[in-house]
Amino acid sequence: MNTLLQSFRKNRSLWTTLVALLFLFVLAVLGLIDQDAEGGARYKNVVFTILRGFSTGSIIFGLMNVLNMAHGAIFMIGAYVGWTVIVRPDTAVDTFTPIVLLASGFLLAPIWHKSINKLKLSSRVSRLWPWLSLAFTLVVLGFFVPQYPITSWNLGSYETTPVNYAFAASQGQVVVPEPKLFQGISPLLGLAGIILGSILAGLTVTGFATSRRANLAGAAMQTESSWKPLIYFGLLVFLGLLVFSFNTPISEFLYSLDSTWLFIIAILAAVITGAGLGALIESSVIRPIYEWHMYVLMLTMGVNVIIVEGVRSIWGAPEFTMHRPSVFAGTGEGCPAESLSALIEFKCSTISVLGGRIRTYNEIFITILGFIVLVAVWMLLQRTRLGMIVRAGVQDSEMVKALGINVQKIFTIVFALGVGLAALGGVIGAPSTGLTTALGESLLINMLVALAIGGLTSYPGSAVGALMVGLLQQFVIKYGQIGINIPFMEEPFKPSPPLVPAMTVLLMVVVLLIMPNGLFGRSK
């Protein structure tokens, strides 16, 4: 009893806030019940709104990664990549080979490291040659990459815009476009050029990394077994070439697939793209300045701008919609499903519960998936060695290094993982959010609000924050439909859609006023 009192005293503001929020929540629920007090379906609205809130919360949850302002943009990238895989599998297959080939060269970096250190170059030479190598890389890649044939849309001419393909796909009248071929140069030369460019790029990066360390005495590197990178390099190149040589059959096979399978492939593609981008962002932009949070914030804002503008110049400005996978799209006979077996049999898009309809994809699938991700990440943080190192490294990365752990590598992995999850959120959420270039921005606010509410440094806090934002939004939307009876006003007040984000920001401001560190955040 005493300890309870004590903990109450210690966390007075936390409890006050929680009680106040609970009170508001109950009020909101009561309001919904009263509005719908006809017949049996009294609780329908409440249940649906909460479910919807949960699902919105879980979409937002995929975004959690402290201090990354580009997270919303990555979410958007995930959606666009997934959409492309579904609507234009041939383009996805075409882009696979060059990307894999370009990435392969970087795997050779450890070998370069070793041989450069053996050479014992003078400091002036070791400072100079990476620039030469960079120039050479740019020339080679600048010549070969634009030659690579990718069958894609052309934003310039109306017949081949992405919108048209999307429309054709939604009508089920996809015309598989003629695959493009190398023109002017032989395919072998083109592929070899790209591989060469990527090897050079890897060399350049290694060069800059070693010249940075060359200021230090010695700079002898670790002695790792040297055949591993070569094997990985060979495997990646082989994979790239394999896809290249079977390009057309693979594209045709993908076109013939059911939308559910395509959706799964799209998820994979989006997550891998996201994780790759995350690793790239972390190692190039964030790693040099981990300690200076302000600069990380500023830099990731810059990355955000680049990604948004990049998406705009690749996919164009118009909005797209993405269709739900076929397992969740049935509307015909037997739908909305009355039972679980009917749901599985007819692949219904909705099920009927409590006399109303719940959408299987938006409200159930996303919620369950969000919950799985939440628990998985929680387990990863709390139960695995990786999570342990992350928790320790956040507090004192220097000491973790002194224990013999490559903490930078771990941070890169975790960052890539977080960004990959954002991309997953993007592709999963795309059927309900649609695709616009402003997608990232609106999600960014939700993410920031959720983070600030939950406390910047707390994982469970961010989950609770996301949930609260989701619930609040759904309540506001619901009230926007049915209106609130405010005393002394004749017509019920209906909050309009712009008020949705306004309410969430208001919630954030109120929470921060009471608890500057958020609900679960710790003061430093």
Binding site: M298, G302, V303, G310, S313, I445, A452, V509, L512
Partner: protein, 359 residues
């Protein structure tokens, strides 16, 4: 007495050589451009279309951006408050001007008053969380508030006034400052505005209040311990900054044919950050130089690369933060001696009278 006064006047001119030369150049610039293009002065004064008029427009945009960058520099560079909602100040100024001119037919003076009041109100909204929230959380809160405005201004409910996502079109600017028929006048008006704002800011930074603001940036706890109510000083900086940005917004609202919702988004705040990063954070002339560099750079990139130019601007921004965090003016100040030394060595080497030989 007379003598010392004159002396101080001469000294003031000498210490501000660069500024005065820049202003004189900018005063002469429209005429120089006209000369180069063989345009007669009378047609220039009559604001006939031509190269001179085009470049005037470009420089007017630089003026507007310079005022905006100055206001952000005061907030972030001088006082150390990282706000990601600064574009809202500018946007409110621009949209208020546009709406009041177009839908309500107001004249400019009352609009200026209303915008100033709006600036204060916005600063107060931002400052609600100011006493309790610091650093990153303040940045997030300001971003959240600004994003709400960004969404509201694009909403269908506001479309009648603000033109939704297309932007506000068809504003009739006041006759005496018409950007088309009176562009030269607008040009000089902009020049004067930048000059006045710059002098005012310089005065503010040199004042005791400004010194406290710098102290807050360096170490807020220490400033508190010295007995200053830091909230008050931060609020003052915020209010001045908000009003200035809103006034820059007014100029934009009059000058630009379409007021796009993009100027209220986070991208435009990033632009401000980019400008002061280019020039050098915390240096007032850096903000001016940064604004000019930013505008010219994005103008040229747009010309060369078209749609992808924004991607390159973003890349430049990232490279700047990583490799040149002090910006042009900051790096110049840090390296001034080294650079001068390098040049003298180089010249000395060619003339055979270098330091290297003597030492």
């Amino acid at each position: 007495m007379e003598n010392t006064k004159e002396n101080s006047f001469v000294r003031a001119i000498k210490s501000n050589q660069g500024l005065i030369i820049t202003i004189l150049c900018l005063i002469a610039l429209p005429f120089v451009i006209a000369l180069i293009n063989g345009q007669s002065f009378s047609s220039l004064l009559a604001n006939e279309p031509g190269q001179a008029k085009f470049y005037q427009g470009l420089i007017i945009e630089i003026f507007i951006l310079a005022i905006y960058a100055l206001s952000y520099d005061l907030l972030f560079g001088i006082t150390g408050l990282l706000s990601f909602g600064h574009a809202m100040f500018f946007g409110v100024g621009a949209y208020l001007t546009g709406i009041l001119l177009k839908s309500f037919g107001w004249t400019l003076l009352p609009i200026l008053g209303v915008v100033a009041v709006a600036g204060v109100v916005m600063a107060l909204i931002f400052s609600i969380v100011l006493p309790r929230v610091k650093g990153i959380t303040f940045a997030l809160v300001t971003l959240g508030i600004a994003q709400v405005f960004h969404i509201v201004i694009q909403s269908r409910e506001m479309a009648k006034f603000a033109g939704a996502e297309i932007g506000l079109q068809g504003v009739t600017p006041p006759d005496f400052l018409n950007p088309i028929s009176q562009r030269l006048r607008f040009y000089y008006f902009g020049l004067v505005a930048v000059f006045v704002v710059y002098l005012f800011y310089k005065r503010f930074v040199d004042s005791p209040t400004g010194h406290v603001c710098i102290a807050i940036r360096e170490n807020e706890d220490r400033a508190t311990m010295l007995g200053y109510n830091t909230f008050y000083y931060k609020l003052v900086a915020l209010i001045i900054s908000a009003i200035t940005a809103a006034l820059a917004g007014v100029m934009h609202g009059i000058f630009s044919p379409i007021i796009r919702p993009g100027i209220t988004g986070s991208g435009f705040t990033i632009a401000a950050l980019l400008m002061i990063l280019m020039g050098g954070i915390g240096t007032l002339n850096g903000a001016l130089i940064g604004a000019a560099t930013f505008k010219l750079l994005s103008f040229l990139l747009e010309k060369w690369f078209g749609g992808a130019s924004q991607v390159i601007v973003g890349l430049v921004y990232i490279l700047l933060v990583l490799f040149l965090p002090y910006g042009i003016v900051g790096t110049w100040r840090l390296r001034r001696l080294q650079i001068k030394q390098g040049w003298t060595d180089l010249i000395g080497r060619f003339t055979g009278k270098g330091r290297a030989e003597s030492s």
